[in-house]
């Protein structure tokens, strides 16, 4: 389901940064949820990690993939974590 285009900042970490070739980019998208944006960027950057293994934060707060995006948001895309 697409909406009118919004512009967001996306920050990549670890493997995602390597796939994207940058650690931050400004994206104009019709995606309305974090999941939709993730799928769109996965297609663009060739990333195969399923969202279920990954995490997302919006404006520095951890959230779920069904979270709605707002114009001007900063979305942080976290590949599968591996601390410890």
């Amino acid at each position: 389901m697409s909406g009118s285009p919004i512009t967001v900042t996306v920050r990549y970490f670890a493997l995602f940064r390597e796939h994207a070739g940058c650690d931050t980019e400004t994206v104009t998208t019709t995606a309305t949820t974090a999941a939709e944006l993730f799928a769109e960027l996965g297609d663009r950057h060739g990333s195969l990690e399923p969202a279920s293994h990954c995490k997302v934060a919006i404006n520095d707060a951890m959230t779920g993939w069904d979270a709605e995006l707002g114009d001007g948001d900063t979305i942080l895309l976290f590949p599968p974590v591996a601390g410890g």
């Binding site: 970490f13 399923p50 293994h53 520095d60 590949p79 599968p80 974590v81 591996a82 601390g83 410890g84």
Partner: protein, 146 residues
């Protein structure tokens, strides 16, 4: 408290912060860099974190442990950067009245830290390859469960 550091972890100093005359038990955990993962010889590990959320999630984990178990003090320190074999990547310490809650809380904290905090590690292998642990598409399609 939760801390993210780049310098080597001084476990003795951190343990000293947990000392309490009411504590009958201290349980500590250290995560060390080992030289093999899923049959591949590992030379070193590179840790990366998104620090603001690693800190806030880590504080949440410790607060949860304190609600679940009767603790006196609990602390976790995770290191980032390039770590060599044998170095300590993470320390968890808990002091409590008795050993049961100390052990349980220590286990709870490290288990949660490993699945919740935005921290990633890249293994550098002896054959020259490298790969991000737990990722489907790391070098050579290698999936690890470190």
């Amino acid at each position: 408290m939760m801390r993210m550091v780049t310098a080597p972890i001084d476990v003795a100093a951190l343990r000293a912060e947990l000392v309490d005359p009411a504590a009958g038990a201290y349980a500590g955990f250290e995560g060390w860099i080992r030289n093999v993962n899923e049959g591949q010889a590992v030379l070193r590990l590179e840790y990366e974190a998104y620090e603001p959320l690693a800190l806030s999630e880590g504080e949440d984990v410790i607060a949860e442990a304190a609600r679940r178990f009767p603790l006196l003090a609990a602390s976790c320190v995770h290191r980032t950067g390039l770590l060599e074999i044998g170095e300590c990547a993470v320390w968890v310490g808990v002091s409590a009245g008795h050993r049961d809650e100390a052990f349980r809380a220590c286990r709870y904290i490290i288990d949660e830290v490993k699945v919740r905090l935005p921290i990633w590690k890249k293994e550098h292998y002896a054959n020259g390859d490298s790969g991000w642990v737990n990722c489907e598409r790391c070098a050579g399609g290698h999936r690890s469960t470190a």
